[in-house]
Amino acid sequence: MHEFSLAAELLTLIEDTARKNGARRVRSASLEIGELASVDGEALRFAFESQSAQTLAEGCVLDWRQVPLVVNCPTCGHTGPTDLLAVACGGCGGSPVRVVSGRGMRLVSIDVEDEADA
């Protein structure tokens, strides 16, 4: 259930950004979720909905794109995607490898209503 913790951080970031920009309401938020972050999208949506009630982000729709896990192999130098359950080099099959991208979770943008929309 780390989605609950992540949703709390996400909500704070969305609310802070919305307030700084004088927004009245946040309609949607666009996210990038790394494959290695092991985030369940539906659990995140539920956790976010339950925590965002009576905030600027109440009713905010979460859209996300999964960022595939990409690794770099120190043995052969290959950089490319890999299978999360068998983290290994897609080039030579070697393991271990270094993670290049596909970690963590980013808030890309939010779509807000401001006073002009009232």
């Binding site: 780390h2 951080e9 927004a23 271990p96």
Partner: protein, 219 residues
């Protein structure tokens, strides 16, 4: 209605606070490690045994993180080590803000090292940087050798993996080679120590490693 570009990691505010903590520790020459595991892997017992070896050599403080209760802090206090108990009141992990709030409880200039025992959980603690230098992960052989495959983030972020309860190996199904291979696949630089906090087997190598890390910050 308009779009606002944010492009920020959702853990950015925790990371900013962790950075602040890290600077603070560096200024005061304090080595900090974050001890993480599932509940019952033996974090507090390991800590007791580690402190018994290292507390005579270094000035070590401890932060105990638990959902509730003071049992762990009381165990550590018996060793004469300064300890603060943080109760998260339901939260499943410590974060950088909580650590920052409790730093006033210590005189950092009087410490060489601070050990933070996180809330028992293999998931959330891995995501929340506290400002520590090293993340130390404890996996007991009683938990099973499939954990690196099931909780990849924890193994990915750890600097050290301590395989604890090695004395139980004859009684459980745990393929040490498999667990170590799968953990290293997720983490090229992972250091692994096999030990038993209960019997003391393997403890010297781990304590020597930790002592070296503390020395490096002190000098």
């Amino acid at each position: 209605m308009h779009d606002i570009a944010v492009d920020t990691d959702i853990l950015a505010s925790n990371e900013a606070m962790a950075l602040h903590n890290r600077e603070h520790f560096r200024e005061h020459g304090v080595y900090v490690c974050n001890l993480m595991s599932a509940p019952g892997a033996g974090k507090t017992t390991l800590l007791e045994r580690t402190l018994a070896q290292l507390a005579p050599r270094f000035r070590i403080g401890v932060i105990e993180g638990d959902v509730q209760g003071r049992e762990d802090a009381e165990r550590i206090a018996k060793l004469g080590v300064p300890v603060v108990q943080i109760n998260t009141g339901g939260a499943c992990h410590l974060d950088a803000r909580l650590i920052h709030h409790h730093l006033d409880s210590f005189v950092l200039d009087d410490l060489d090292a601070l050990v933070i025992e996180n809330v028992g959980n293999l998931v959330c603690p891995a995501e929340f940087d506290l400002g520590e230098q090293d993340k130390i992960m404890l996996l007991s052989v009683a938990e099973g050798d499939d954990k690196p495959k099931k909780y990849p983030v924890m193994f990915h972020v750890a600097r050290v993996l301590l395989l604890n309860k090695m004395d139980l190996l004859p009684h459980v199904t745990f393929d040490v080679a498999r667990a170590e291979r799968d953990a290293r696949a997720l983490n090229l630089d992972l250091e692994i120590f096999r030990l038993s906090a209960r019997t003391g087997e393997g403890l010297d190598a781990w304590c020597a490693w930790l002592a070296d890390r503390i020395e490096r910050v002190r000098t």
